[in-house]
Protein backbone atom coordinates (compact mmCIF):
# COMPACT_ATOMS: atom_id res chain seq x y z
CA UNK A 1 0.00 0.00 0.00
CA UNK A 2 2.62 2.49 1.09
CA UNK A 3 4.93 1.34 -1.67
CA UNK A 4 2.18 1.81 -4.27
CA UNK A 5 1.58 5.31 -2.95
CA UNK A 6 5.29 6.07 -3.13
CA UNK A 7 5.49 4.68 -6.65
CA UNK A 8 2.51 6.79 -7.67
CA UNK A 9 4.23 9.80 -6.23
CA UNK A 10 7.57 8.97 -7.92
CA UNK A 11 6.16 8.32 -11.42
CA UNK A 12 2.78 10.02 -11.41
CA UNK A 13 3.33 13.28 -9.55
CA UNK A 14 6.92 14.44 -9.79
CA UNK A 15 7.18 14.39 -13.62
CA UNK A 16 3.94 16.40 -14.02
CA UNK A 17 4.50 20.00 -12.91
CA UNK A 18 0.80 20.72 -12.42
CA UNK A 19 0.33 17.90 -9.91
CA UNK A 20 3.60 18.73 -8.16
CA UNK A 21 2.47 22.33 -7.78
CA UNK A 22 -0.86 21.18 -6.34
CA UNK A 23 0.90 18.98 -3.75
CA UNK A 24 3.32 21.78 -2.82
CA UNK A 25 0.35 24.13 -2.51
CA UNK A 26 -1.52 21.82 -0.11
CA UNK A 27 1.61 21.16 1.98
CA UNK A 28 2.06 24.93 2.18
CA UNK A 29 -1.55 25.34 3.32
CA UNK A 30 -1.09 22.73 6.06
CA UNK A 31 2.04 24.36 7.51
CA UNK A 32 0.80 27.91 6.91
CA UNK A 33 -0.21 28.75 10.54
CA UNK A 34 3.18 27.50 11.76
CA UNK A 35 5.23 29.84 9.57
CA UNK A 36 3.06 32.94 9.78
CA UNK A 37 2.72 35.03 12.90
CA UNK A 38 -0.52 36.81 13.60
CA UNK A 39 -4.04 35.49 13.39
CA UNK A 40 -5.05 38.01 10.72
CA UNK A 41 -3.50 36.09 7.82
CA UNK A 42 -4.66 32.74 9.22
CA UNK A 43 -8.15 34.20 9.34
CA UNK A 44 -7.99 35.27 5.70
CA UNK A 45 -6.96 31.78 4.64
CA UNK A 46 -9.70 30.24 6.78
CA UNK A 47 -12.23 32.25 4.80
CA UNK A 48 -10.42 31.33 1.59
CA UNK A 49 -10.87 27.62 2.43
CA UNK A 50 -14.58 28.12 3.02
CA UNK A 51 -15.03 30.08 -0.18
CA UNK A 52 -13.02 27.48 -2.10
CA UNK A 53 -15.70 24.89 -1.22
CA UNK A 54 -18.38 27.39 -2.25
CA UNK A 55 -16.75 28.27 -5.58
CA UNK A 56 -15.98 24.63 -6.41
CA UNK A 57 -19.61 23.68 -5.76
CA UNK A 58 -20.73 26.39 -8.19
CA UNK A 59 -18.30 25.02 -10.74
CA UNK A 60 -19.68 21.50 -10.26
CA UNK A 61 -23.25 22.65 -10.76
CA UNK A 62 -22.90 25.35 -13.39
CA UNK A 63 -19.56 24.73 -15.03
CA UNK A 64 -19.92 20.99 -15.52
CA UNK A 65 -23.63 20.48 -16.05
CA UNK A 66 -24.09 23.84 -17.76
CA UNK A 67 -27.02 24.90 -15.55
CA UNK A 68 -25.89 28.53 -15.23
CA UNK A 69 -27.01 29.14 -11.65
CA UNK A 70 -26.87 32.83 -10.76
CA UNK A 71 -28.28 32.43 -7.28
CA UNK A 72 -25.80 30.08 -5.72
CA UNK A 73 -25.89 32.19 -2.54
CA UNK A 74 -29.30 30.61 -1.89
CA UNK A 75 -27.70 27.34 -0.72
CA UNK A 76 -25.01 29.21 1.19
CA UNK A 77 -27.53 31.44 2.93
CA UNK A 78 -30.07 28.69 3.65
CA UNK A 79 -27.38 26.60 5.34
CA UNK A 80 -25.99 29.56 7.24
CA UNK A 81 -29.41 30.66 8.49
CA UNK A 82 -30.44 27.03 9.06
CA UNK A 83 -27.57 26.27 11.40
CA UNK A 84 -27.94 29.63 13.14
CA UNK A 85 -31.66 29.08 13.77
CA UNK A 86 -30.95 25.59 15.11
CA UNK A 87 -28.51 27.10 17.58
CA UNK A 88 -30.79 29.98 18.53
CA UNK A 89 -33.94 27.95 19.18
CA UNK A 90 -32.63 24.51 20.08
CA UNK A 91 -29.15 25.35 21.38
CA UNK A 92 -27.38 22.62 19.42
CA UNK A 93 -23.59 22.58 18.98
CA UNK A 94 -21.80 23.30 15.68
CA UNK A 95 -20.98 19.59 15.28
CA UNK A 96 -24.70 18.96 14.79
CA UNK A 97 -25.89 22.20 13.20
CA UNK A 98 -23.32 22.27 10.40
CA UNK A 99 -24.30 18.88 8.90
CA UNK A 100 -28.00 19.71 9.26
CA UNK A 101 -27.38 23.14 7.72
CA UNK A 102 -25.62 21.45 4.81
CA UNK A 103 -28.59 19.11 4.39
CA UNK A 104 -30.85 22.18 4.33
CA UNK A 105 -28.66 23.45 1.47
CA UNK A 106 -29.14 20.13 -0.35
CA UNK A 107 -32.88 20.37 0.17
CA UNK A 108 -32.84 23.92 -1.23
CA UNK A 109 -30.96 22.57 -4.25
CA UNK A 110 -33.53 19.84 -4.85
CA UNK A 111 -36.43 22.27 -4.43
CA UNK A 112 -34.80 24.66 -6.90
CA UNK A 113 -34.91 21.80 -9.40
CA UNK A 114 -38.70 21.79 -9.54
CA UNK A 115 -38.93 24.95 -11.65
CA UNK A 116 -35.32 24.83 -12.87
CA UNK A 117 -35.63 21.52 -14.72
CA UNK A 118 -38.15 23.07 -17.08
CA UNK A 119 -35.88 25.88 -18.15
CA UNK A 120 -32.46 26.43 -19.60
CA UNK A 121 -30.12 29.18 -20.74
CA UNK A 122 -30.91 32.76 -19.76
CA UNK A 123 -34.30 31.82 -18.32
CA UNK A 124 -32.68 29.46 -15.84
CA UNK A 125 -30.10 32.08 -14.84
CA UNK A 126 -32.75 34.72 -14.20
CA UNK A 127 -34.97 32.27 -12.30
CA UNK A 128 -32.19 31.09 -10.00
CA UNK A 129 -31.11 34.69 -9.41
CA UNK A 130 -34.61 35.38 -8.09
CA UNK A 131 -34.64 32.79 -5.30
CA UNK A 132 -32.07 34.26 -2.87
CA UNK A 133 -33.67 37.68 -3.33
CA UNK A 134 -37.09 36.30 -2.47
CA UNK A 135 -35.67 34.70 0.67
CA UNK A 136 -33.91 37.96 1.51
CA UNK A 137 -37.22 39.81 1.26
CA UNK A 138 -38.83 37.28 3.62
CA UNK A 139 -35.93 37.62 6.06
CA UNK A 140 -36.38 41.38 6.19
CA UNK A 141 -40.14 41.02 6.51
CA UNK A 142 -40.02 38.60 9.48
CA UNK A 143 -37.52 40.47 11.62
CA UNK A 144 -38.42 38.88 14.95
CA UNK A 145 -37.43 35.38 13.79
CA UNK A 146 -34.46 36.16 11.58
CA UNK A 147 -33.02 39.32 13.10
CA UNK A 148 -33.60 41.40 9.95
CA UNK A 149 -30.57 43.25 8.65
CA UNK A 150 -28.48 42.45 11.74
CA UNK A 151 -28.88 38.71 11.29
CA UNK A 152 -28.49 36.14 14.05
CA UNK A 153 -25.34 36.88 16.00
CA UNK A 154 -23.49 35.26 18.88
CA UNK A 155 -23.13 31.82 17.32
CA UNK A 156 -20.70 29.46 19.08
CA UNK A 157 -17.18 29.25 17.72
CA UNK A 158 -16.03 26.28 15.72
CA UNK A 159 -13.05 25.68 18.03
CA UNK A 160 -11.30 27.60 20.79
CA UNK A 161 -8.37 28.97 18.77
CA UNK A 162 -7.95 30.61 15.39
CA UNK A 163 -5.51 28.01 14.07
CA UNK A 164 -7.78 25.12 15.15
CA UNK A 165 -10.61 26.70 13.17
CA UNK A 166 -8.21 27.08 10.26
CA UNK A 167 -7.34 23.38 10.32
CA UNK A 168 -10.99 22.32 10.57
CA UNK A 169 -11.92 24.45 7.55
CA UNK A 170 -8.85 23.32 5.64
CA UNK A 171 -9.60 19.63 6.27
CA UNK A 172 -13.23 20.02 5.28
CA UNK A 173 -12.12 21.91 2.17
CA UNK A 174 -9.58 19.27 1.17
CA UNK A 175 -12.07 16.42 1.57
CA UNK A 176 -14.89 18.29 -0.18
CA UNK A 177 -12.74 19.36 -3.10
CA UNK A 178 -11.36 15.83 -3.47
CA UNK A 179 -14.89 14.39 -3.54
CA UNK A 180 -16.05 16.99 -6.07
CA UNK A 181 -12.94 16.48 -8.19
CA UNK A 182 -13.42 12.70 -8.29
CA UNK A 183 -17.15 13.09 -8.94
CA UNK A 184 -16.52 15.28 -11.98
CA UNK A 185 -13.48 13.46 -13.36
CA UNK A 186 -14.51 12.66 -16.93
CA UNK A 187 -11.71 10.11 -17.41
CA UNK A 188 -12.59 8.09 -14.32
CA UNK A 189 -13.12 4.34 -14.65
CA UNK A 190 -15.34 4.07 -11.59
CA UNK A 191 -17.64 7.11 -11.57
CA UNK A 192 -19.57 8.07 -14.68
CA UNK A 193 -21.04 11.32 -13.38
CA UNK A 194 -18.27 13.54 -14.76
CA UNK A 195 -18.69 12.28 -18.28
CA UNK A 196 -22.47 12.47 -18.08
CA UNK A 197 -22.42 16.05 -16.77
CA UNK A 198 -20.14 17.02 -19.67
CA UNK A 199 -22.58 15.36 -22.07
CA UNK A 200 -25.54 17.23 -20.56
CA UNK A 201 -23.72 20.53 -20.94
CA UNK A 202 -22.66 19.95 -24.52
CA UNK A 203 -25.93 18.58 -25.87
CA UNK A 204 -28.71 17.58 -23.57
CA UNK A 205 -30.93 16.09 -26.26
CA UNK A 206 -28.09 13.91 -27.57
CA UNK A 207 -27.34 12.80 -24.00
CA UNK A 208 -30.96 11.83 -23.57
CA UNK A 209 -30.94 9.99 -26.88
CA UNK A 210 -28.04 7.84 -25.68
CA UNK A 211 -30.20 6.66 -22.81
CA UNK A 212 -28.98 8.92 -20.01
CA UNK A 213 -31.68 9.96 -17.57
CA UNK A 214 -30.68 13.63 -17.72
CA UNK A 215 -33.31 14.71 -15.19
CA UNK A 216 -31.83 12.42 -12.54
CA UNK A 217 -28.31 13.74 -13.16
CA UNK A 218 -29.41 17.36 -13.14
CA UNK A 219 -31.12 16.80 -9.80
CA UNK A 220 -27.92 15.12 -8.61
CA UNK A 221 -25.86 18.13 -9.74
CA UNK A 222 -28.19 20.52 -7.92
CA UNK A 223 -28.19 18.37 -4.78
CA UNK A 224 -24.39 17.98 -4.66
CA UNK A 225 -23.87 21.65 -5.49
CA UNK A 226 -26.33 22.56 -2.74
CA UNK A 227 -24.70 20.19 -0.26
CA UNK A 228 -21.20 21.60 -0.64
CA UNK A 229 -22.38 25.22 -0.83
CA UNK A 230 -24.34 24.40 2.32
CA UNK A 231 -21.26 23.06 4.09
CA UNK A 232 -19.45 26.29 3.17
CA UNK A 233 -22.36 28.43 4.34
CA UNK A 234 -22.72 26.67 7.70
CA UNK A 235 -18.96 26.83 8.34
CA UNK A 236 -18.93 30.50 7.39
CA UNK A 237 -21.74 31.32 9.81
CA UNK A 238 -19.85 29.66 12.67
CA UNK A 239 -16.50 31.25 11.79
CA UNK A 240 -17.78 34.82 11.60
CA UNK A 241 -20.36 33.90 14.30
CA UNK A 242 -23.14 35.77 12.49
CA UNK A 243 -25.69 34.55 9.96
CA UNK A 244 -26.52 37.79 8.21
CA UNK A 245 -28.37 38.85 5.07
CA UNK A 246 -25.06 39.40 3.27
CA UNK A 247 -24.80 35.62 2.91
CA UNK A 248 -27.79 35.76 0.55
CA UNK A 249 -26.83 38.95 -1.29
CA UNK A 250 -26.45 39.01 -5.04
CA UNK A 251 -22.77 39.86 -4.56
CA UNK A 252 -22.24 36.50 -2.84
CA UNK A 253 -23.55 34.62 -5.88
CA UNK A 254 -21.48 36.69 -8.23
CA UNK A 255 -18.33 36.39 -6.15
CA UNK A 256 -18.46 32.61 -6.64
CA UNK A 257 -18.81 33.06 -10.39
CA UNK A 258 -16.02 35.64 -10.47
CA UNK A 259 -13.63 33.34 -8.59
CA UNK A 260 -14.44 30.38 -10.83
CA UNK A 261 -14.13 32.33 -14.05
CA UNK A 262 -10.89 33.87 -12.82
CA UNK A 263 -9.42 30.49 -11.95
CA UNK A 264 -10.81 28.52 -14.85
CA UNK A 265 -14.33 27.28 -15.44
CA UNK A 266 -15.10 23.53 -15.76
CA UNK A 267 -12.17 22.52 -13.59
CA UNK A 268 -12.56 22.09 -9.85
CA UNK A 269 -8.91 23.03 -9.26
CA UNK A 270 -9.50 26.25 -11.22
CA UNK A 271 -12.12 27.29 -8.69
CA UNK A 272 -9.72 26.59 -5.81
CA UNK A 273 -6.88 28.50 -7.47
CA UNK A 274 -9.23 31.38 -8.23
CA UNK A 275 -10.32 31.73 -4.61
CA UNK A 276 -6.85 31.34 -3.13
CA UNK A 277 -5.39 34.02 -5.41
CA UNK A 278 -8.21 36.53 -5.65
CA UNK A 279 -9.63 36.47 -2.12
CA UNK A 280 -6.36 37.08 -0.19
CA UNK A 281 -5.33 39.63 -2.84
CA UNK A 282 -8.50 41.66 -2.36
CA UNK A 283 -8.29 41.32 1.43
CA UNK A 284 -4.64 42.36 1.55
CA UNK A 285 -5.47 45.48 -0.44
CA UNK A 286 -7.32 46.63 2.70
CA UNK A 287 -3.96 47.29 4.33
CA UNK A 288 -2.52 49.29 1.44
CA UNK A 289 -3.09 53.00 0.74
CA UNK A 290 -5.34 52.14 -2.20
CA UNK A 291 -7.82 50.32 0.04
CA UNK A 292 -10.75 52.46 -1.04
CA UNK A 293 -10.27 51.26 -4.62
CA UNK A 294 -10.42 47.62 -3.44
CA UNK A 295 -13.90 46.86 -4.72
CA UNK A 296 -13.16 48.85 -7.85
CA UNK A 297 -10.32 46.52 -8.76
CA UNK A 298 -12.45 43.36 -8.63
CA UNK A 299 -14.73 44.17 -11.61
CA UNK A 300 -11.75 45.48 -13.57
CA UNK A 301 -9.93 42.18 -13.03
CA UNK A 302 -13.03 40.28 -14.17
CA UNK A 303 -13.32 42.32 -17.34
CA UNK A 304 -9.62 41.93 -18.18
CA UNK A 305 -9.67 38.17 -17.51
CA UNK A 306 -12.76 37.69 -19.68
CA UNK A 307 -11.19 39.62 -22.53
CA UNK A 308 -7.64 38.32 -22.48
CA UNK A 309 -7.63 34.99 -20.62
CA UNK A 310 -11.13 33.60 -21.19
CA UNK A 311 -10.21 30.08 -20.10
CA UNK A 312 -9.04 31.25 -16.67
CA UNK A 313 -5.69 31.66 -15.00
CA UNK A 314 -5.23 28.08 -13.73
CA UNK A 315 -5.89 26.59 -17.14
CA UNK A 316 -3.69 29.23 -18.75
CA UNK A 317 -0.79 28.34 -16.44
CA UNK A 318 -1.37 24.61 -16.94
CA UNK A 319 -1.18 25.01 -20.70
CA UNK A 320 2.12 26.84 -20.27
CA UNK A 321 3.80 24.18 -18.12
CA UNK A 322 2.25 20.95 -19.38
CA UNK A 323 1.98 19.31 -22.75
CA UNK A 324 0.05 16.24 -23.80
CA UNK A 325 1.96 13.56 -25.70
CA UNK A 326 0.45 13.35 -29.19
CA UNK A 327 0.87 9.57 -29.27
CA UNK A 328 0.00 8.17 -25.84
CA UNK A 329 -1.96 11.16 -24.41
CA UNK A 330 0.21 11.22 -21.30
CA UNK A 331 0.80 14.58 -19.63
CA UNK A 332 4.39 15.80 -19.79
CA UNK A 333 6.26 18.83 -18.58
CA UNK A 334 6.33 21.44 -21.32
CA UNK A 335 10.11 21.63 -21.32
CA UNK A 336 10.68 17.93 -22.15
CA UNK A 337 11.85 17.08 -25.64
CA UNK A 338 10.25 13.63 -25.77
CA UNK A 339 7.42 11.87 -23.97
CA UNK A 340 8.45 10.27 -20.67
CA UNK A 341 6.61 7.02 -21.48
CA UNK A 342 6.74 6.38 -25.21
CA UNK A 343 9.60 8.76 -26.15
CA UNK A 344 7.63 10.28 -29.01
CA UNK A 345 8.93 13.71 -29.96
CA UNK A 346 6.98 16.53 -28.33
CA UNK A 347 8.30 19.29 -30.56
Amino acid sequence: MLRRLLNDFRWGVIPVPGRLLAIIFFVFLFIFPLIVQGSYYVRIFTFASIFAIFAASWDLLSGYSGQANFGHALFFGVASYGSALLYKYLGWTPAVTIPIGALAGTLAGVITCIPALRLRGPYLSLLTMAFPLMLLGLIFAFKNVTGGEYGISGLPRLADSVSKEYYICLLVMTVSVLIMWKLTDAGSKYVRTGLILHAIREDEIAARATGINTVRYKILAFAVGGLFAGIAGALYAHVIRVAGPSSLAILMSFQAIIWVVFGGIVSIYGAVVGVYTLYPLVELLRKTPISQYRLLILPVIVILILLFMPEGIAVWIRDKIERECPRCKLTNAAWRRECRACSASLR
Binding site: F70, A130, L133, K143, L296, P299
Partner: protein, 290 residues
Protein backbone atom coordinates in the same frame (compact mmCIF):
# COMPACT_ATOMS: atom_id res chain seq x y z
CA UNK B 1 -55.37 56.20 -1.44
CA UNK B 2 -56.70 55.04 -4.80
CA UNK B 3 -55.39 58.11 -6.61
CA UNK B 4 -51.98 57.66 -5.03
CA UNK B 5 -51.94 54.03 -6.18
CA UNK B 6 -52.92 55.06 -9.71
CA UNK B 7 -50.29 57.80 -9.99
CA UNK B 8 -47.63 55.61 -8.38
CA UNK B 9 -48.40 52.79 -10.80
CA UNK B 10 -48.26 55.09 -13.81
CA UNK B 11 -44.96 56.72 -12.83
CA UNK B 12 -43.25 53.51 -11.69
CA UNK B 13 -44.66 51.59 -14.62
CA UNK B 14 -43.48 54.23 -17.06
CA UNK B 15 -39.95 54.14 -15.71
CA UNK B 16 -39.92 50.33 -15.72
CA UNK B 17 -41.33 50.35 -19.25
CA UNK B 18 -38.42 52.47 -20.49
CA UNK B 19 -35.84 50.27 -18.76
CA UNK B 20 -37.47 46.99 -19.75
CA UNK B 21 -37.96 47.93 -23.39
CA UNK B 22 -34.27 48.76 -23.72
CA UNK B 23 -33.36 45.49 -22.03
CA UNK B 24 -35.76 43.61 -24.28
CA UNK B 25 -34.58 45.37 -27.43
CA UNK B 26 -30.96 44.36 -27.05
CA UNK B 27 -31.89 40.85 -25.94
CA UNK B 28 -34.17 40.36 -28.92
CA UNK B 29 -31.43 41.59 -31.26
CA UNK B 30 -28.39 39.71 -30.13
CA UNK B 31 -29.40 37.54 -27.17
CA UNK B 32 -27.34 39.84 -24.96
CA UNK B 33 -28.63 40.01 -21.38
CA UNK B 34 -27.44 43.46 -20.43
CA UNK B 35 -27.38 43.53 -16.64
CA UNK B 36 -25.73 46.96 -16.83
CA UNK B 37 -28.94 48.46 -18.27
CA UNK B 38 -30.06 49.88 -14.95
CA UNK B 39 -26.52 50.96 -14.10
CA UNK B 40 -26.78 53.39 -17.02
CA UNK B 41 -30.04 54.59 -15.49
CA UNK B 42 -28.16 55.21 -12.23
CA UNK B 43 -25.40 57.04 -14.11
CA UNK B 44 -27.95 59.26 -15.86
CA UNK B 45 -29.55 60.20 -12.53
CA UNK B 46 -26.10 61.11 -11.19
CA UNK B 47 -25.46 63.01 -14.42
CA UNK B 48 -28.55 65.12 -13.81
CA UNK B 49 -27.34 65.82 -10.27
CA UNK B 50 -23.87 66.74 -11.52
CA UNK B 51 -25.03 69.09 -14.27
CA UNK B 52 -27.92 70.81 -12.53
CA UNK B 53 -26.65 70.99 -8.94
CA UNK B 54 -22.87 71.05 -9.14
CA UNK B 55 -22.07 72.69 -12.46
CA UNK B 56 -25.26 74.71 -12.55
CA UNK B 57 -26.35 74.28 -16.15
CA UNK B 58 -29.93 74.82 -17.28
CA UNK B 59 -32.39 71.95 -17.25
CA UNK B 60 -32.59 71.48 -21.02
CA UNK B 61 -28.80 71.51 -21.49
CA UNK B 62 -28.35 69.07 -18.63
CA UNK B 63 -30.88 66.66 -20.09
CA UNK B 64 -29.30 66.76 -23.54
CA UNK B 65 -25.74 66.37 -22.24
CA UNK B 66 -26.74 63.52 -19.90
CA UNK B 67 -28.54 61.57 -22.60
CA UNK B 68 -25.75 62.01 -25.13
CA UNK B 69 -22.99 61.15 -22.66
CA UNK B 70 -24.75 58.06 -21.31
CA UNK B 71 -25.53 56.83 -24.80
CA UNK B 72 -21.94 57.30 -25.91
CA UNK B 73 -20.74 55.44 -22.83
CA UNK B 74 -23.14 52.59 -23.58
CA UNK B 75 -21.98 52.36 -27.18
CA UNK B 76 -18.36 52.45 -26.05
CA UNK B 77 -18.91 49.64 -23.54
CA UNK B 78 -20.66 47.58 -26.19
CA UNK B 79 -18.01 48.18 -28.83
CA UNK B 80 -14.98 47.57 -26.61
CA UNK B 81 -16.20 44.89 -24.20
CA UNK B 82 -19.51 43.17 -24.90
CA UNK B 83 -19.12 42.83 -28.65
CA UNK B 84 -15.98 40.72 -28.34
CA UNK B 85 -17.55 38.00 -26.21
CA UNK B 86 -21.22 38.20 -27.07
CA UNK B 87 -21.36 34.56 -28.17
CA UNK B 88 -20.93 33.30 -24.60
CA UNK B 89 -23.97 33.79 -22.40
CA UNK B 90 -22.20 33.50 -19.05
CA UNK B 91 -19.36 35.77 -20.16
CA UNK B 92 -21.83 38.47 -21.25
CA UNK B 93 -23.74 38.23 -17.97
CA UNK B 94 -20.49 38.48 -16.05
CA UNK B 95 -19.03 41.37 -17.99
CA UNK B 96 -22.23 43.40 -17.77
CA UNK B 97 -22.59 42.80 -14.03
CA UNK B 98 -18.91 43.68 -13.64
CA UNK B 99 -19.56 46.93 -15.54
CA UNK B 100 -22.52 47.69 -13.28
CA UNK B 101 -20.43 47.05 -10.16
CA UNK B 102 -17.66 49.20 -11.62
CA UNK B 103 -20.04 52.13 -12.16
CA UNK B 104 -21.49 51.62 -8.69
CA UNK B 105 -18.05 51.68 -7.08
CA UNK B 106 -17.02 54.74 -9.12
CA UNK B 107 -20.11 56.64 -7.97
CA UNK B 108 -19.43 55.47 -4.42
CA UNK B 109 -15.93 56.93 -4.72
CA UNK B 110 -17.04 60.25 -6.16
CA UNK B 111 -20.20 60.87 -4.15
CA UNK B 112 -20.09 58.42 -1.22
CA UNK B 113 -23.08 56.42 -0.06
CA UNK B 114 -25.21 59.53 0.48
CA UNK B 115 -28.80 59.92 -0.61
CA UNK B 116 -28.89 62.77 -3.10
CA UNK B 117 -31.79 64.41 -4.87
CA UNK B 118 -32.42 67.13 -7.41
CA UNK B 119 -35.26 69.63 -6.96
CA UNK B 120 -38.44 69.31 -8.99
CA UNK B 121 -37.98 70.53 -12.54
CA UNK B 122 -41.35 72.29 -12.30
CA UNK B 123 -43.16 72.98 -9.06
CA UNK B 124 -46.80 73.23 -8.15
CA UNK B 125 -49.69 70.88 -8.76
CA UNK B 126 -52.67 70.55 -11.03
CA UNK B 127 -56.15 69.47 -10.02
CA UNK B 128 -57.50 66.62 -12.15
CA UNK B 129 -61.02 65.38 -11.31
CA UNK B 130 -60.66 66.81 -7.83
CA UNK B 131 -57.31 65.12 -7.17
CA UNK B 132 -54.14 67.13 -6.67
CA UNK B 133 -51.36 65.81 -8.89
CA UNK B 134 -47.83 67.17 -8.66
CA UNK B 135 -46.70 68.82 -11.87
CA UNK B 136 -43.46 66.88 -11.63
CA UNK B 137 -45.40 63.61 -11.78
CA UNK B 138 -47.25 64.88 -14.85
CA UNK B 139 -43.97 65.94 -16.47
CA UNK B 140 -42.43 62.52 -15.81
CA UNK B 141 -45.51 60.82 -17.24
CA UNK B 142 -45.35 63.12 -20.26
CA UNK B 143 -41.68 62.36 -20.88
CA UNK B 144 -42.32 58.63 -20.58
CA UNK B 145 -45.32 58.74 -22.89
CA UNK B 146 -43.50 60.78 -25.54
CA UNK B 147 -40.46 58.51 -25.46
CA UNK B 148 -42.57 55.36 -25.68
CA UNK B 149 -44.42 56.78 -28.72
CA UNK B 150 -41.14 57.85 -30.34
CA UNK B 151 -39.66 54.39 -29.87
CA UNK B 152 -42.81 52.81 -31.22
CA UNK B 153 -42.70 55.01 -34.34
CA UNK B 154 -38.97 54.43 -34.73
CA UNK B 155 -39.39 50.67 -34.66
CA UNK B 156 -42.46 50.48 -36.88
CA UNK B 157 -42.06 53.29 -39.41
CA UNK B 158 -38.41 54.15 -40.05
CA UNK B 159 -35.82 52.30 -42.09
CA UNK B 160 -33.68 51.82 -39.00
CA UNK B 161 -36.63 50.24 -37.20
CA UNK B 162 -37.19 47.82 -40.03
CA UNK B 163 -33.47 46.97 -40.00
CA UNK B 164 -33.62 46.37 -36.24
CA UNK B 165 -36.64 44.11 -36.47
CA UNK B 166 -35.20 42.23 -39.42
CA UNK B 167 -31.91 41.63 -37.61
CA UNK B 168 -33.80 40.46 -34.54
CA UNK B 169 -35.70 37.94 -36.65
CA UNK B 170 -32.77 36.53 -38.56
CA UNK B 171 -29.38 38.21 -38.51
CA UNK B 172 -27.94 36.22 -41.40
CA UNK B 173 -30.76 36.90 -43.82
CA UNK B 174 -30.81 40.55 -42.74
CA UNK B 175 -27.12 40.69 -43.61
CA UNK B 176 -27.86 39.22 -47.03
CA UNK B 177 -30.48 41.94 -47.60
CA UNK B 178 -27.77 44.56 -47.23
CA UNK B 179 -28.33 45.50 -43.60
CA UNK B 180 -25.08 46.01 -41.73
CA UNK B 181 -25.69 43.81 -38.69
CA UNK B 182 -22.82 45.13 -36.51
CA UNK B 183 -23.92 48.73 -37.14
CA UNK B 184 -27.54 47.89 -36.36
CA UNK B 185 -26.47 46.19 -33.14
CA UNK B 186 -24.43 49.23 -32.17
CA UNK B 187 -27.38 51.54 -32.83
CA UNK B 188 -29.72 49.27 -30.87
CA UNK B 189 -27.36 49.33 -27.94
CA UNK B 190 -27.32 53.13 -28.23
CA UNK B 191 -31.13 53.29 -28.24
CA UNK B 192 -31.34 50.92 -25.25
CA UNK B 193 -28.88 53.03 -23.27
CA UNK B 194 -30.66 56.24 -24.25
CA UNK B 195 -33.93 54.75 -22.93
CA UNK B 196 -32.20 53.96 -19.63
CA UNK B 197 -30.82 57.52 -19.54
CA UNK B 198 -34.30 59.00 -20.07
CA UNK B 199 -35.62 56.83 -17.25
CA UNK B 200 -32.81 58.04 -15.00
CA UNK B 201 -33.56 61.67 -15.83
CA UNK B 202 -37.27 61.13 -15.24
CA UNK B 203 -36.76 59.76 -11.73
CA UNK B 204 -33.89 62.01 -10.62
CA UNK B 205 -36.24 64.62 -9.09
CA UNK B 206 -38.71 62.06 -7.69
CA UNK B 207 -36.68 59.23 -6.17
CA UNK B 208 -33.45 59.38 -4.21
CA UNK B 209 -30.14 59.02 -6.03
CA UNK B 210 -27.62 56.64 -4.45
CA UNK B 211 -25.00 54.22 -5.81
CA UNK B 212 -27.07 51.07 -5.19
CA UNK B 213 -30.20 52.38 -6.89
CA UNK B 214 -29.64 50.09 -9.89
CA UNK B 215 -30.16 46.71 -8.18
CA UNK B 216 -33.85 46.87 -7.30
CA UNK B 217 -34.97 48.12 -10.76
CA UNK B 218 -32.74 45.49 -12.38
CA UNK B 219 -34.62 42.72 -10.60
CA UNK B 220 -37.93 44.32 -11.52
CA UNK B 221 -36.85 44.69 -15.15
CA UNK B 222 -35.93 41.02 -15.31
CA UNK B 223 -39.29 40.07 -13.88
CA UNK B 224 -41.00 42.33 -16.42
CA UNK B 225 -39.20 41.02 -19.48
CA UNK B 226 -39.89 37.45 -18.43
CA UNK B 227 -43.52 38.27 -17.78
CA UNK B 228 -43.84 39.93 -21.17
CA UNK B 229 -41.68 37.44 -23.01
CA UNK B 230 -37.94 37.98 -23.44
CA UNK B 231 -37.27 40.10 -26.49
CA UNK B 232 -40.87 41.27 -26.91
CA UNK B 233 -41.23 45.07 -26.70
CA UNK B 234 -45.02 45.15 -26.46
CA UNK B 235 -44.87 42.54 -23.71
CA UNK B 236 -42.33 44.63 -21.83
CA UNK B 237 -44.56 47.73 -21.89
CA UNK B 238 -47.61 45.84 -20.60
CA UNK B 239 -45.57 43.77 -18.13
CA UNK B 240 -44.03 46.96 -16.74
CA UNK B 241 -47.40 48.37 -15.76
CA UNK B 242 -48.62 45.03 -14.34
CA UNK B 243 -45.51 44.69 -12.16
CA UNK B 244 -45.68 48.36 -11.16
CA UNK B 245 -49.28 47.85 -10.05
CA UNK B 246 -48.27 44.78 -8.01
CA UNK B 247 -45.38 46.69 -6.46
CA UNK B 248 -47.41 49.78 -5.55
CA UNK B 249 -50.27 47.68 -4.15
CA UNK B 250 -47.91 45.58 -2.02
CA UNK B 251 -46.01 48.61 -0.76
CA UNK B 252 -49.10 50.61 0.16
CA UNK B 253 -51.37 47.86 1.47
CA UNK B 254 -49.18 45.32 3.28
CA UNK B 255 -47.16 45.91 6.46
CA UNK B 256 -43.39 46.06 5.75
CA UNK B 257 -44.40 45.94 2.10
CA UNK B 258 -41.26 47.56 0.75
CA UNK B 259 -39.37 44.39 1.71
CA UNK B 260 -42.05 42.12 0.34
CA UNK B 261 -42.45 43.86 -3.04
CA UNK B 262 -39.48 41.93 -4.43
CA UNK B 263 -40.89 38.66 -3.08
CA UNK B 264 -44.21 39.22 -4.81
CA UNK B 265 -42.61 40.34 -8.08
CA UNK B 266 -40.30 37.32 -8.06
CA UNK B 267 -43.26 35.08 -7.26
CA UNK B 268 -45.01 36.42 -10.36
CA UNK B 269 -41.89 35.63 -12.38
CA UNK B 270 -41.51 32.10 -11.02
CA UNK B 271 -45.17 31.33 -11.68
CA UNK B 272 -44.92 32.69 -15.23
CA UNK B 273 -41.75 30.72 -15.89
CA UNK B 274 -43.27 27.49 -14.63
CA UNK B 275 -46.73 27.86 -16.16
CA UNK B 276 -45.94 29.65 -19.40
CA UNK B 277 -42.18 29.83 -19.98
CA UNK B 278 -42.53 32.06 -23.04
CA UNK B 279 -44.17 34.86 -21.06
CA UNK B 280 -47.52 36.49 -21.79
CA UNK B 281 -46.71 37.52 -25.34
CA UNK B 282 -43.49 35.65 -26.04
CA UNK B 283 -42.98 33.03 -28.65
CA UNK B 284 -41.61 29.80 -27.22
CA UNK B 285 -38.48 28.86 -29.08
CA UNK B 286 -38.04 25.14 -29.35
CA UNK B 287 -34.38 25.25 -28.39
CA UNK B 288 -35.06 27.22 -25.27
CA UNK B 289 -37.20 24.77 -23.41
CA UNK B 290 -37.22 21.06 -22.83
Amino acid sequence: MIERIIIGTLVTGGVYALLASGFSLIFGMAHIINLAQTAFYMLAAYGMYLFTQQIGLGVIESIVITIVATTLLGILCYRLLINRIRQHLVAVLLITIALALLFEQLMLLFYGAHYLSTPYLIGGFTEILGVRVLNQHLLTLGIVAVVIIVVWLLLSKTKLGIAIRATAQDAEVANLMGISVPRTLLLTMGIATALAAVAGIAVAPLWTIYPYMWTSPLMMVMVIVILGGLGNIKGSFIGAFIIALVEVLVVSLLPSGSFLKMVFAMLVMVIVLVVRPGGLFGIVFEEERL
